[in-house]
Amino acid sequence: MNAANYLYLSALLFTIGAVGVVIRRNAIVVFMCIELMLNAANLSFVTFSRINGDLNGQVIAFFTMVVAACEVVVGLAIIVTIYRSRRSASIDDASLLKR
């Protein structure tokens, strides 16, 4: 079984995640899409680890997970805060950073 297939899968999932970030408006879904991208990257790391025959890739993937967990915690807190003031979870409503 060609390990490169996992890499193709990873690329596909990453792309889908990226599209999701762009086209979905619900902040939580956007967040999940980001998680999907991170997971896709993790899959690549694990696959590279296998291709190269050492565990460094797995360790990096592990770190990625930890950082992703941190990110989720903070990100969701932000979403809750925004929701509290705007009564909306749509990221288009938080568009103050414009010209």
Binding site: M1, N2, A3, A4, N5, Y6, Y8, L9, A11, L12, L13, T15, I16, G17, A18, V19, G20, V22, I23, R24, R25, I28, F31, M32, C33, E35, L36, N39, N42, L43, V46, S49, R50, I51, G53, D54, L55, N56, Q58, V59, A61, F62, F63, M65, V66, V67, A69, C70, V72, V73, V74, L76, A77, I78, I79, V80, T81, Y83, A89, D92
Partner: protein, 263 residues
């Protein structure tokens, strides 16, 4: 089950079977995430993708990561997502029509380009044609192998990441903490305020939500003496979420009173 998965992963054929079944499914689930209207459904599909990835990890000789994926991601992180979803409204569904002009075609074109280029690049690469495999690295067990790396080469990043975790936890607490600008009014103050306000209508407190024989819940407004619905009797956040039932079915005029007339 883990052993089984490892065994399946070590032989090429079963792994291929596993891959060709799970990979299309996970791609489909990922695409589904984009297309379904309700965020809850997205979350379920996401969970599926994550579990599929966990299986792939295990299949590729990373059982520790696979377990962590299931426990941390699917277990904790996805639960957090669902929890927040409950908070902001489980039932709310998104409109999938695009409001920013030209964004969707741009995104899809870019994505197709990106994916195409990536796959083309990967195809060009010589990587993975003959994978070494992690069997040697996992000789003393996968967990031990990762641990020895974590606590030697990566000990400094490891410590930094731990600091990051704590900071993130603190940060989310700070963010979620609602800062009070004034002191909380006491019962006495609230009551004084009620009596001194313009009308005495609310002096006794806001009306309670409707209590009816056929429906007894906080999402139905009470009826006023003239038979109309009392808007003030519904909690503001329910109103904001749109979870208010129509009370017209319980209005006086709509109730059969013929029995009384007979008396």
């Amino acid at each position: 089950m883990i052993d089984l998965a490892i065994q399946v992963g070590q032989t090429a054929k079963p792994e291929a079977t596993l891959f060709w079944i799970l990979a299309p499914l996970s791609v489909a689930a990922a695409l589904g995430m984009l297309l379904v209207k309700k965020a809850v459904h997205s979350a379920i599909l996401m969970a599926f993708v994550m579990i599929a990835l966990a299986v792939f990890y295990i299949a590729q000789g990373a059982p520790f990561l696979g377990i962590v994926q299931i426990v941390v991601y699917t277990g904790a992180v996805m639960m957090l997502f669902l929890f927040i979803l409950m908070l902001v409204g489980v039932d709310s569904s998104d409109s999938l029509t695009e409001t920013i002009k030209g964004l969707r075609p741009t995104a899809i074109t870019a994505a197709v380009g990106f994916g195409g280029l990536m796959i083309s690049l990967l195809g060009r690469a010589t990587l993975g044609r003959n994978a070494v495999g992690v069997e040697a690295a996992n000789a003393e067990g996968n967990v031990q192998g990762i641990a020895s790396l974590l606590f030697s080469t990566y000990v400094w990043p490891f410590e930094v990441v731990s600091a990051l975790l704590i900071t993130a936890a603190l940060g989310s607490m700070v963010l979620a903490h609602h800062h009070r600008i004034q002191t909380r009014p006491t019962q006495r103050e609230l009551s004084i305020q009620r009596f001194r306000s313009g009308s005495l209508a609310n002096a006794a407190g806001l009306p309670a939500p409707g209590v009816f024989a056929r429906h007894n819940a906080v999402d139905v407004p009470a009826l006023l003496p003239d038979g109309t619905a009392a808007a003030a009797s519904i909690n503001a956040s329910l109103k904001a979420r749109g979870d208010v039932l129509n009370s017209s079915a319980f209005e006086l005029g709509n109730i059969d009173t013929s029995v009384e007339e007979e008396k």
